[in-house]
């Protein structure tokens, strides 16, 4: 066990964990940030997606020892009031069914739009194809990303 100082959602937090503990489980078990979900543990489904210095990463496969000073943003920290344009779009389009994968979907979409405010259909496809939705909400995910893009560009 070692002590790690992490920059999470704009705050500096200290936590103890084995060095190989994935960020996912530190967030969930140590810090109570359970919005980030476990789906596969091998970076195949995208449910655990968070931002590391603004880039979408799979927290299930990222050991705590590799984080350092990099800024971690989770779904809880994407906006203070749940009103990030991507969250607004997700709400307006009523995307979720069971909802379990949606935090990961939103984090992937938000990272895409932060780099490219007007992504092409191809860009959206490339970004979102890594996130599985078992309920099959893909059509609305597409609609919501397009809507969020228009909110950000305007």
């Amino acid at each position: 066990m070692a002590t790690y100082q992490l920059q999470i959602n704009g705050k500096s937090v200290s936590t103890e964990a084995d060095s190989d503990t994935p960020l996912l489980w530190v967030l969930r078990d140590n810090l109570g940030l359970v919005g980030t979900k476990y789906g596969c543990g091998i970076a195949q489904c995208g449910a655990c997606t968070v931002h590391l210095n603004g880039t979408a990463v799979r927290s299930c496969s990222l050991p705590i020892s590799a984080i350092g000073n990099k800024k971690v943003t989770t779904i809880e920290g994407l906006s203070e009031k749940g009103d990030h344009p991507v969250q607004q779009a997700w709400n307006e389009v009523d995307v979720a069914q069971c909802g379990y994968c949606q935090a990961g979907q939103i984090m992937t979409a938000a990272a895409l739009l932060s780099k490219k405010t007007k992504p092409s259909d191809q860009d959206i496809e490339t970004a979102m194809n890594g996130n599985i939705c078992r309920c099959g909400t893909y059509h609305r995910i597409h609609e919501a990303v397009v809507l969020a893009s228009s909110k950000i560009s305007n």
Partner: protein
């Protein structure tokens, strides 16, 4: 509301009346219930008569408890919409609270069989209408006018002649004193304002801001974490366990063996996950150890069995086939499928001396509690069960195995514990959609009439893999449907649209082939059969011919069937869980490969409650049906599943879904359910369209393993 769900009902009533006052109406979920009661102190003595609560507080908040587990079917939004409609409530003032397990109050507290709305439709309407009538009468009393001169609208009682109004909250205390009316008039369906609208999910904001909603999100002070090593092969049992290295691993509290389980208990999920890998367990066979290659051989033997279970027999099949001008015989096979809900199995259990607390995601909370009671030898009323939101279910959480092991472990270690399944545990852990093989046979006479029809289904732990009374039964003079089941150690269970999730593909592919043989348009062929069933029914007909015809006609019209150039269309229609769905799939050739571009769906589920949720159920069902038809494949070697995670087991992804166009039949029939019925027709519609495009038939799933097609390009754009 957290505290309310944890308080017993009597206290809740007192709390409600003491803090906010207002009208609290108990309404009965039971099948024969027609009475409603205002809950006051006197009435609350008759505890079990009141089965759920609709309350209106003096500050205008309307609260309704939603009893059924929510797994994405959107029940938690649809139920209160029905109440709010009859109540003429202001939807923005409606709050929904997930009820704890309380079978005395709620009777049917489960999610399965697309049955929640059909079961509760009338009860919910009456609850809303009763409260509305009491509010109207309270308003009438206040103004000293007749109730019939007042109207209820948008959360207000309005006196149009006197140009005055009062909010429901202002009248709630008075309404609570009005005797419960027995003669309740429900709204005319054409006047619905909320029902049929697209209403956003009531948990929507919580889901997209990462609030703890799911079982896996449940944490309790002092709780320990556990993972269980179960035998990797079905049919094996533990011979010996060496847990020394696991026990010595960081953060591990204990390693416990019970039944065929070795549970590693520790301080965090990651630590128990790591330690579990250090277990050294030897297993030995306790029953036959099977592989997929054995099943492939077995199916062919079983199809020749002389001792099937006959499911339905009409006319004289032997004579019909003996005299046939032409016989068509085709076989179809599917593999086992895991459910793969995105939230893997998990449950929290705390077995104490004075009772048991269970918290987690389950589709059948009552069964889970009763099985835990039996296991621990305690009374069910000593067990509380809190239903969390479910990160998907698809039938897997109809089983209580993962609840039982958590309870058993807690009773052994005497601590509150959350048992967590990894994806590998989940995919390798059983309760699968059974592997099945069908043989369909049609006897045609010289005029191309289908005079004989035979279906034999053989499956592994499949129960009855046929739906013997479904179409085309009733439309064929001579019909025989039978089945043979092979018992295996590989466990199976309900998987969204049980049996029909594959049977529909096989049947609709076969009928397409028969239509081709008799040179009829595939849609006309089915309509002709339905016409025959209507005019000259053979045996019992247990589907609604007119409803089926209507969805067929609607899909035909909306897809512009047969009128499109360079597009190959395939048709399918299926009746399941009381509802009817017809689909037309469209395939285009791109660089010599077929691409599934679009699916048109026409659904009759009766009245649509929530247009947003209903669209989701149909699209989701189609994506589910298509994804599993193309990719779903769980194989076994020496009793163990060969695919254990998403690197070897493929689920359909974003770029692989076609455009989906959804239409509902607006016939005003009371709702008949929509969680499953859109899934079964998809495989057949897609396969029939692929045949039109390529000239090649598909007989087995998954499609992507069928070399006949030379590969299917699913990389279509939405």
């Amino acid at each position: 509301m957290e505290t309310l769900t944890k308080t017993n009902r009597r206290n809740f009533l007192k709390l409600a009346t003491a803090t906010t006052g207002g009208l609290v109406l108990g309404f009965n979920w039971e099948a024969n219930a027609t009475t409603f009661n205002v809950l006051d102190e006197a009435a609350s003595a008759a505890d079990t008569n009141f089965n759920s609560y609709l309350s209106i507080s003096s500050d205008n908040v309307i609260t309704i408890f939603s009893p059924n587990p929510e797994l994405g079917q959107n029940i938690k939004t649809s139920f209160p919409m029905i109440v709010a409609e009859e109540l003429e409530a202001d939807w923005s003032k409606v709050k929904v609270v997930q009820a704890m397990l309380d079978i005395k109050k709620y009777e049917r507290q489960l999610t399965g069989g697309s049955g929640a709305i059909p079961h509760s439709w009338e009860r919910l309407r009456k609850a809303g209408a009763t409260a509305k009538q009491m509010l109207l009468e309270a308003g009438a009393k206040r103004w000293n006018v007749s109730a019939s001169s007042l109207v209820a609208e948008n959360g207000m009682i309005v006196d149009k002649s006197g140009n005055r109004s009062l909010s429901y909250g202002e009248l709630a205390n008075d309404a609570a004193l009005i005797p419960v009316p027995t003669d309740i008039k429900l709204k005319d369906k054409k006047d619905f304002k909320i029902i049929g609208q697209p209403i956003r999910n009531v948990d929507g904001m919580d889901m997209i801001t990462g609030k703890p909603l799911y079982g896996l999100d449940f944490y309790r002070e002092g709780m320990v974490f556990a993972m269980i090593q179960r035998p990797k092969s079905f049919g094996m049992k533990i011979k010996s366990v060496d847990a020394a290295a696991a026990k010595a691993s960081t953060g591990i509290i204990d390693v416990v063996t019970f039944k065929n389980n070795v549970a590693v208990v520790g301080k965090s999920t990651w630590q128990v996950n790591k330690a579990r890998k250090l277990l050294k367990i030897e297993y030995e066979a306790e029953s036959k150890i099977e592989s997929t290659v054995d099943h492939d051989k077995l199916f062919k033997e079983l199809l020749e069995s002389k001792e099937p279970t006959v499911r339905r027999k009409d006319g004289d099949v032997d004579a019909a086939f003996a005299n046939a001008t032409k016989v068509i015989s085709r076989e179809y096979q599917c593999p086992f499928l895991p459910h793969n809900s995105m939230e893997p199995m998990n449950f929290f259990a705390h077995v104490r001396a004075d009772g048991v607390e269970l918290v987690g995601p389950t589709q059948t909370p009552d069964m889970a509690r009763n099985e835990v009671a039996k296991l621990l030898g305690i009374a069910p009323d000593k067990i509380t069960l809190e239903i969390t939101r479910l990160g998907g279910g698809f039938g897997r959480r109809l089983k209580a195995d993962y609840v039982l092991e958590a309870a058993e472990l807690s009773s052994i270690i005497k601590a509150p514990v959350k048992v967590i399944w990894t994806r590998e545990d989940d995919m390798g852990g059983g309760s699968y959609r059974p592997a099945v093989r069908y043989r369909f046979q049609a006897a045609l006479d010289a005029n191309g009439n289908m005079v004989g029809y035979k279906l034999r289904g053989v499956g592994i732990n499949s129960g009855n893999p046929t739906r013997e009374d479904n179409f085309p039964a009733g439309a064929v003079d001579n019909l025989l449907i039978d089945s043979i089941e092979h018992k295996s150690a590989i466990t199976t269970g309900a998987w969204r649209a049980p049996i029909t999730n594959f049977l529909a593909f096989a049947e609709q592919s076969f009928l397409d082939e028969v239509a081709e043989a008799v040179k009829q348009d595939p849609i006309q062929f089915r309509l002709n059969l339905l016409e025959k069933a209507k005019k000259y029914p053979v045996g019992a007909i247990k589907y609604d011919i007119d409803r089926m015809k209507t969805v067929i006609e609607l899909a035909k019209e909306k897809s512009e069937w047969g009128k499109k150039k360079n597009i190959s269309q395939g048709f399918s229609v299926y009746f399941s869980h009381r509802s009817y769905v017809a689909q037309v799939a469209e395939v285009e050739m791109k660089s010599g490969k077929p691409v599934v571009k679009k699916i048109h769906a026409a659904a009759d589920c009766g009245v649509v409650i929530n247009m947003s949720g209903a669209q989701q159920q149909v699209r989701g069902g189609i994506v589910d049906g298509m994804g599993h038809a193309f990719f779903g494949n769980l194989t076994f070697k020496d009793g163990a599943a060969e695919q254990l995670n998403f690197n070897s087991y493929r689920l359909i992804r974003y770029k692989e879904v076609p455009e989906i166009d959804v239409h509902f039949v607006n016939n005003g029939i009371d709702p008949t359910g929509l969680g499953e019925p859109a899934l079964p027709p998809t495989g057949g519609a897609v396969a029939n369209a692929l045949f039109k495009a390529t000239g090649k038939r598909l007989y087995n799933q998954p499609f992507n393993k069928q070399e006949a097609l030379g590969g299917v390009n699913l990389e279509s754009k939405m």
